[in-house]
Amino acid sequence: MSYIPHSPREGKDLLGTLNEFAYAEYGSFLEILALAKKAKSSRRKFGFIKHALDEYRHSSLFFKILSNQAKRGVGKFKREYRYFPQNVIIKGYVDKEGFLIEKLSLKKLLEFVYANELMVKETFDRLKKINSIIQDEESINILNSIMKDELDHHGQAKKLYEIKFPDSKLQFALKKERIKRNFRLINFHNIKFLNKIFDLIINFFISCFGKIINLITVPDSKNENLMTLDPQSVI
């Protein structure tokens, strides 16, 4: 249900893509868990818990596929593929300023789930078609089962939306989410280029301010009573 990662360009960086999917699913797990905590009825709490556990399972399965490919020696297993929970924030799948339930109305949230669960299924389809690397049966079965779950979630969100907001149109929401996603993908595919520009700016700053920073003396507190140091000083 989280933001959808990029899909790989043909034959390239399959492991990186799987890694992105694993974190995206983990982000979804956290978002749905936050929903479960806010839900009022017991039935709905358990409904969200079940959905959250689906997302958690998907995340674990993507990490498993990743591990399977690494063990088979497919692609170069990068150290940054190591599971690091905080990547879910660093990669932007969960916003450190708040979960979706804290930022969106129920209507917007259901639109988001409806659209993104469908788009994630489409992305998986593309991943399967272009992928000639995932060949082990276990990994293929895992992908199929995840696709089925995503369609279920899409259907559940649609059903709940139609009950809660019978006069609204979901197709409009889908178009809106597709546009947003395309902007995110443009940003993603250009991130390396943007980073290069950013690095040039940073290098300029370092050359300007590096020497000044070196001149700053960081106070030494040796032999001092630490309880009497200026408590409002930040240095």
Binding site: Y56, S67, Y83, K222, V234
Partner: protein, 575 residues
């Protein structure tokens, strides 16, 4: 009035709240609420919980204290990197880029949740926060305090002379990059475990190895002329952001670093080599700690020690340090890492208010293990669970289930402050059944066999089962030190004894939740329960009942003990 302490931006963000009488009334880690292990972002969820529970506002908060001095922390590493690396170096660029996400944005983040115009914001020295977080629990000075962590506010190791809680003299420090914590993290990284999370795995793995690399490894970090010196050519944490060890260290070990995220199992091809590396690193760490403790004693002649910082969580090293002949007492806080430093920060604010030098608060380790105002959610569990015992009979029923070799999860009252499960967020079972303990650790918690499971025992039986160190009696209350089981009982508790013949024990009394269960278990001839944290190894500890339900399904456990009663799962959700 309240005194709020906050630790954030490096790892394990947290908040702590101390009241007018100096009592820790609440402590929360952000990861418990965000469900992101090691969450280091500003602890907004934890803070919001405190604001709601205690109606906090600018009217009733006296001071807000941050656990370190942000500019000093940021600038110290940057200065070192600019001086020693080319300008375009990764680490330097990273520090510049992340300035905006570092602790320098503390006040800006804070102001989103609390009006701070009227509240003085204080900044405690990082290592002082660690010392105070331990002193909070053991208000009986004088002490010598040894702080050993990765890095904080310029220093990596400190020796403080705690003459009173208003007079804490900084006697000695080792500056970045000479760091025992970063050394151990680099080995953790080399062995394929995550830094700030996998260090306990290295400690567990060490017991399976021989220190064959010790002679080589000790050349890379040493204590000489009362200085801790790291040979940084072996360690890339001063140059790179993507790994902590250098190719030189790889050459030293003559083996490739282990790939992350592929499980390491006993008996596999390279297991022994990696275990030998872990054993060597553990030995280097212990010997350097001995030297630092000796130096601390030489400087102060104090025999009562406080020990804090992330390295103090190395319970195997703690036990060995406690045997040093000049140590009468070695005290560690239940949460000695950076998250616990929030307690030290709030205590700093509290002490700043006190005019009386000899003020001694009533805090002690017995009454501060489970601070907070946790409210159970009540009835929602009954949708997915059968209530098999009410609150008044639940402990008795739990004991019967344990005697029948069932595994019970607990989500009972306030959560523990530290990383060790002390009963309130635990998975417990009969410790005399070693097959069951093995199942709990490997099948349910998904841990490798080289990571031990700890036992809990009543005080009256502790000496019958274990050789206890007098100097560590306080640590045994919150599982921060190991003890050696007696030979005659070893066979009966093998499941909770590590391969090095030690157990990280928790001793409790009969007023404690696990104490009550253990009292009931006497009639079944069960005197120890295996006790591990209620989470799968890569998840944060369970916080509330929703997390408990999720974790029960992930781990396929049937029983949950809460304050409202004992519950049994009605159905399984596929995970």
């Amino acid at each position: 009035m309240f005194y709020l302490g906050i630790s954030a931006y490096y790892h394990d963000s947290s908040v702590a709240l101390i009241d007018d009488e100096g009592s820790l009334v609440d402590f929360k880690k952000e990861e418990w609420l965000s469900r992101i292990k090691g969450d280091k972002t500003f602890p907004r969820l934890a803070l919001q919980e405190l604001i709601n529970s205690f109606s906090l506002s600018d009217e009733n908060i006296k001071f807000i204290t941050f656990y370190e001095k942000p500019v000093r922390s940021w600038i110290s590493v940057l200065k070192h990197s600019i001086k020693n690396n080319p300008l375009s170096n990764d680490l330097t660029r990273n520090y510049f880029k992340n300035a905006w996400n570092s602790s320098m944005r503390f006040q800006m983040d804070l102001s989103k949740y609390i009006k701070i115009k009227k509240i003085p914001i204080l900044y405690s020295d990082h290592h002082l926060s660690h010392t105070l977080s331990t002193l909070y629990y053991y208000n009986d000075f004088p002490y010598v305090s040894v702080v050993v962590d990765g890095y904080g506010d310029k220093y990596c190791t400190s020796i403080h002379h705690v003459k009173s809680n208003k007079e804490i003299i900084n006697l000695w420090n080792s500056e970045y990059p000479n760091s025992l914590g970063l050394f151990y993290s680099a080995i953790t990284d080399f062995l394929g475990f995550s830094i700030n999370e996998g260090e306990y795995k290295v400690m567990g793995l060490a017991s399976f190895g021989q220190p064959k690399y010790y002679e080589n490894l000790k050349k890379t970090i040493k204590f000489e002329d009362n200085k801790l010196i790291t040979d940084t050519k072996y360690y890339d944490y001063i140059r790179r952001t993507d790994r902590s060890f250098s190719d030189q260290l790889t050459n030293l070990f003559e083996i490739e670093p282990r790939l992350p995220d592929i499980s390491l199992e006993i008996g596999e091809k390279k297991f022994q080599v990696y275990a030998d590396i872990a054993a060597s690193a553990q030995k280097v760490l212990e010997e350097l700690l001995f030297s630092i403790f000796q130096y601390a004693y030489n400087l102060t002649k104090e025999k009562k020690f406080l020990f804090s910082g992330g390295v103090a969580m190395n319970s195997a090293a703690v036990r060995k340090c406690s045997k040093l002949k000049f140590i009468n007492q070695l005290n560690i806080s239940p949460s000695s890492g950076d998250s616990g430093a929030a307690i030290g920060a709030s205590y700093f604010g509290f002490l700043s208010e006190k005019k009386n030098n000899n003020f001694v608060s009533k805090n002690n380790i017995k009454n501060s293990l489970y601070p907070g105002k946790f409210k159970p959610e009540g009835n929602f569990l009954e949708f997915g669970f059968d209530k098999i015992a009410d609150a008044d009979t639940s402990l008795n029923e739990t004991s019967i289930l344990i005697a029948n070799n069932e595994i019970i999860a607990t989500c009972y009252g306030n959560i523990e402050t530290g990383p060790r499960a002390l009963g309130h967020r635990s998975l417990i079972c009969n410790a005399h059944n070693s097959d069951l303990v093995k199942k709990l650790s490997t099948e349910i918690k998904k841990r490798s066999l080289f990571i031990p499971t700890a036992p809990t025992i009543l005080k009256e039986y502790a000496e019958k089962y274990f050789y206890l160190e007098n100097s560590l009696m306080n640590c045994y209350m919150h599982m921060t030190a190991t003890a050696t089981p007696k030979a005659e009982v070893m066979k009966n508790i093998r499941g909770v004894v590590h391969i090095d013949n030690t157990s990280r024990i928790q001793i409790c009394n009969e007023t404690h939740l696990l104490g009550k269960i253990l009292s009931n278990l006497k009639k079944f001839d069960i005197y120890l329960i295996a006790n591990t944290s209620f989470n799968i190894s890569s998840d944060p500890m369970v916080y509330d009942e929703i997390d408990a339900v999720v974790a029960l399904h992930k781990m396929k456990i049937k029983y949950l003990l809460t304050e409202n009663g004992l519950f049994k799962k009605k159905f399984e959700i596929k995970v």
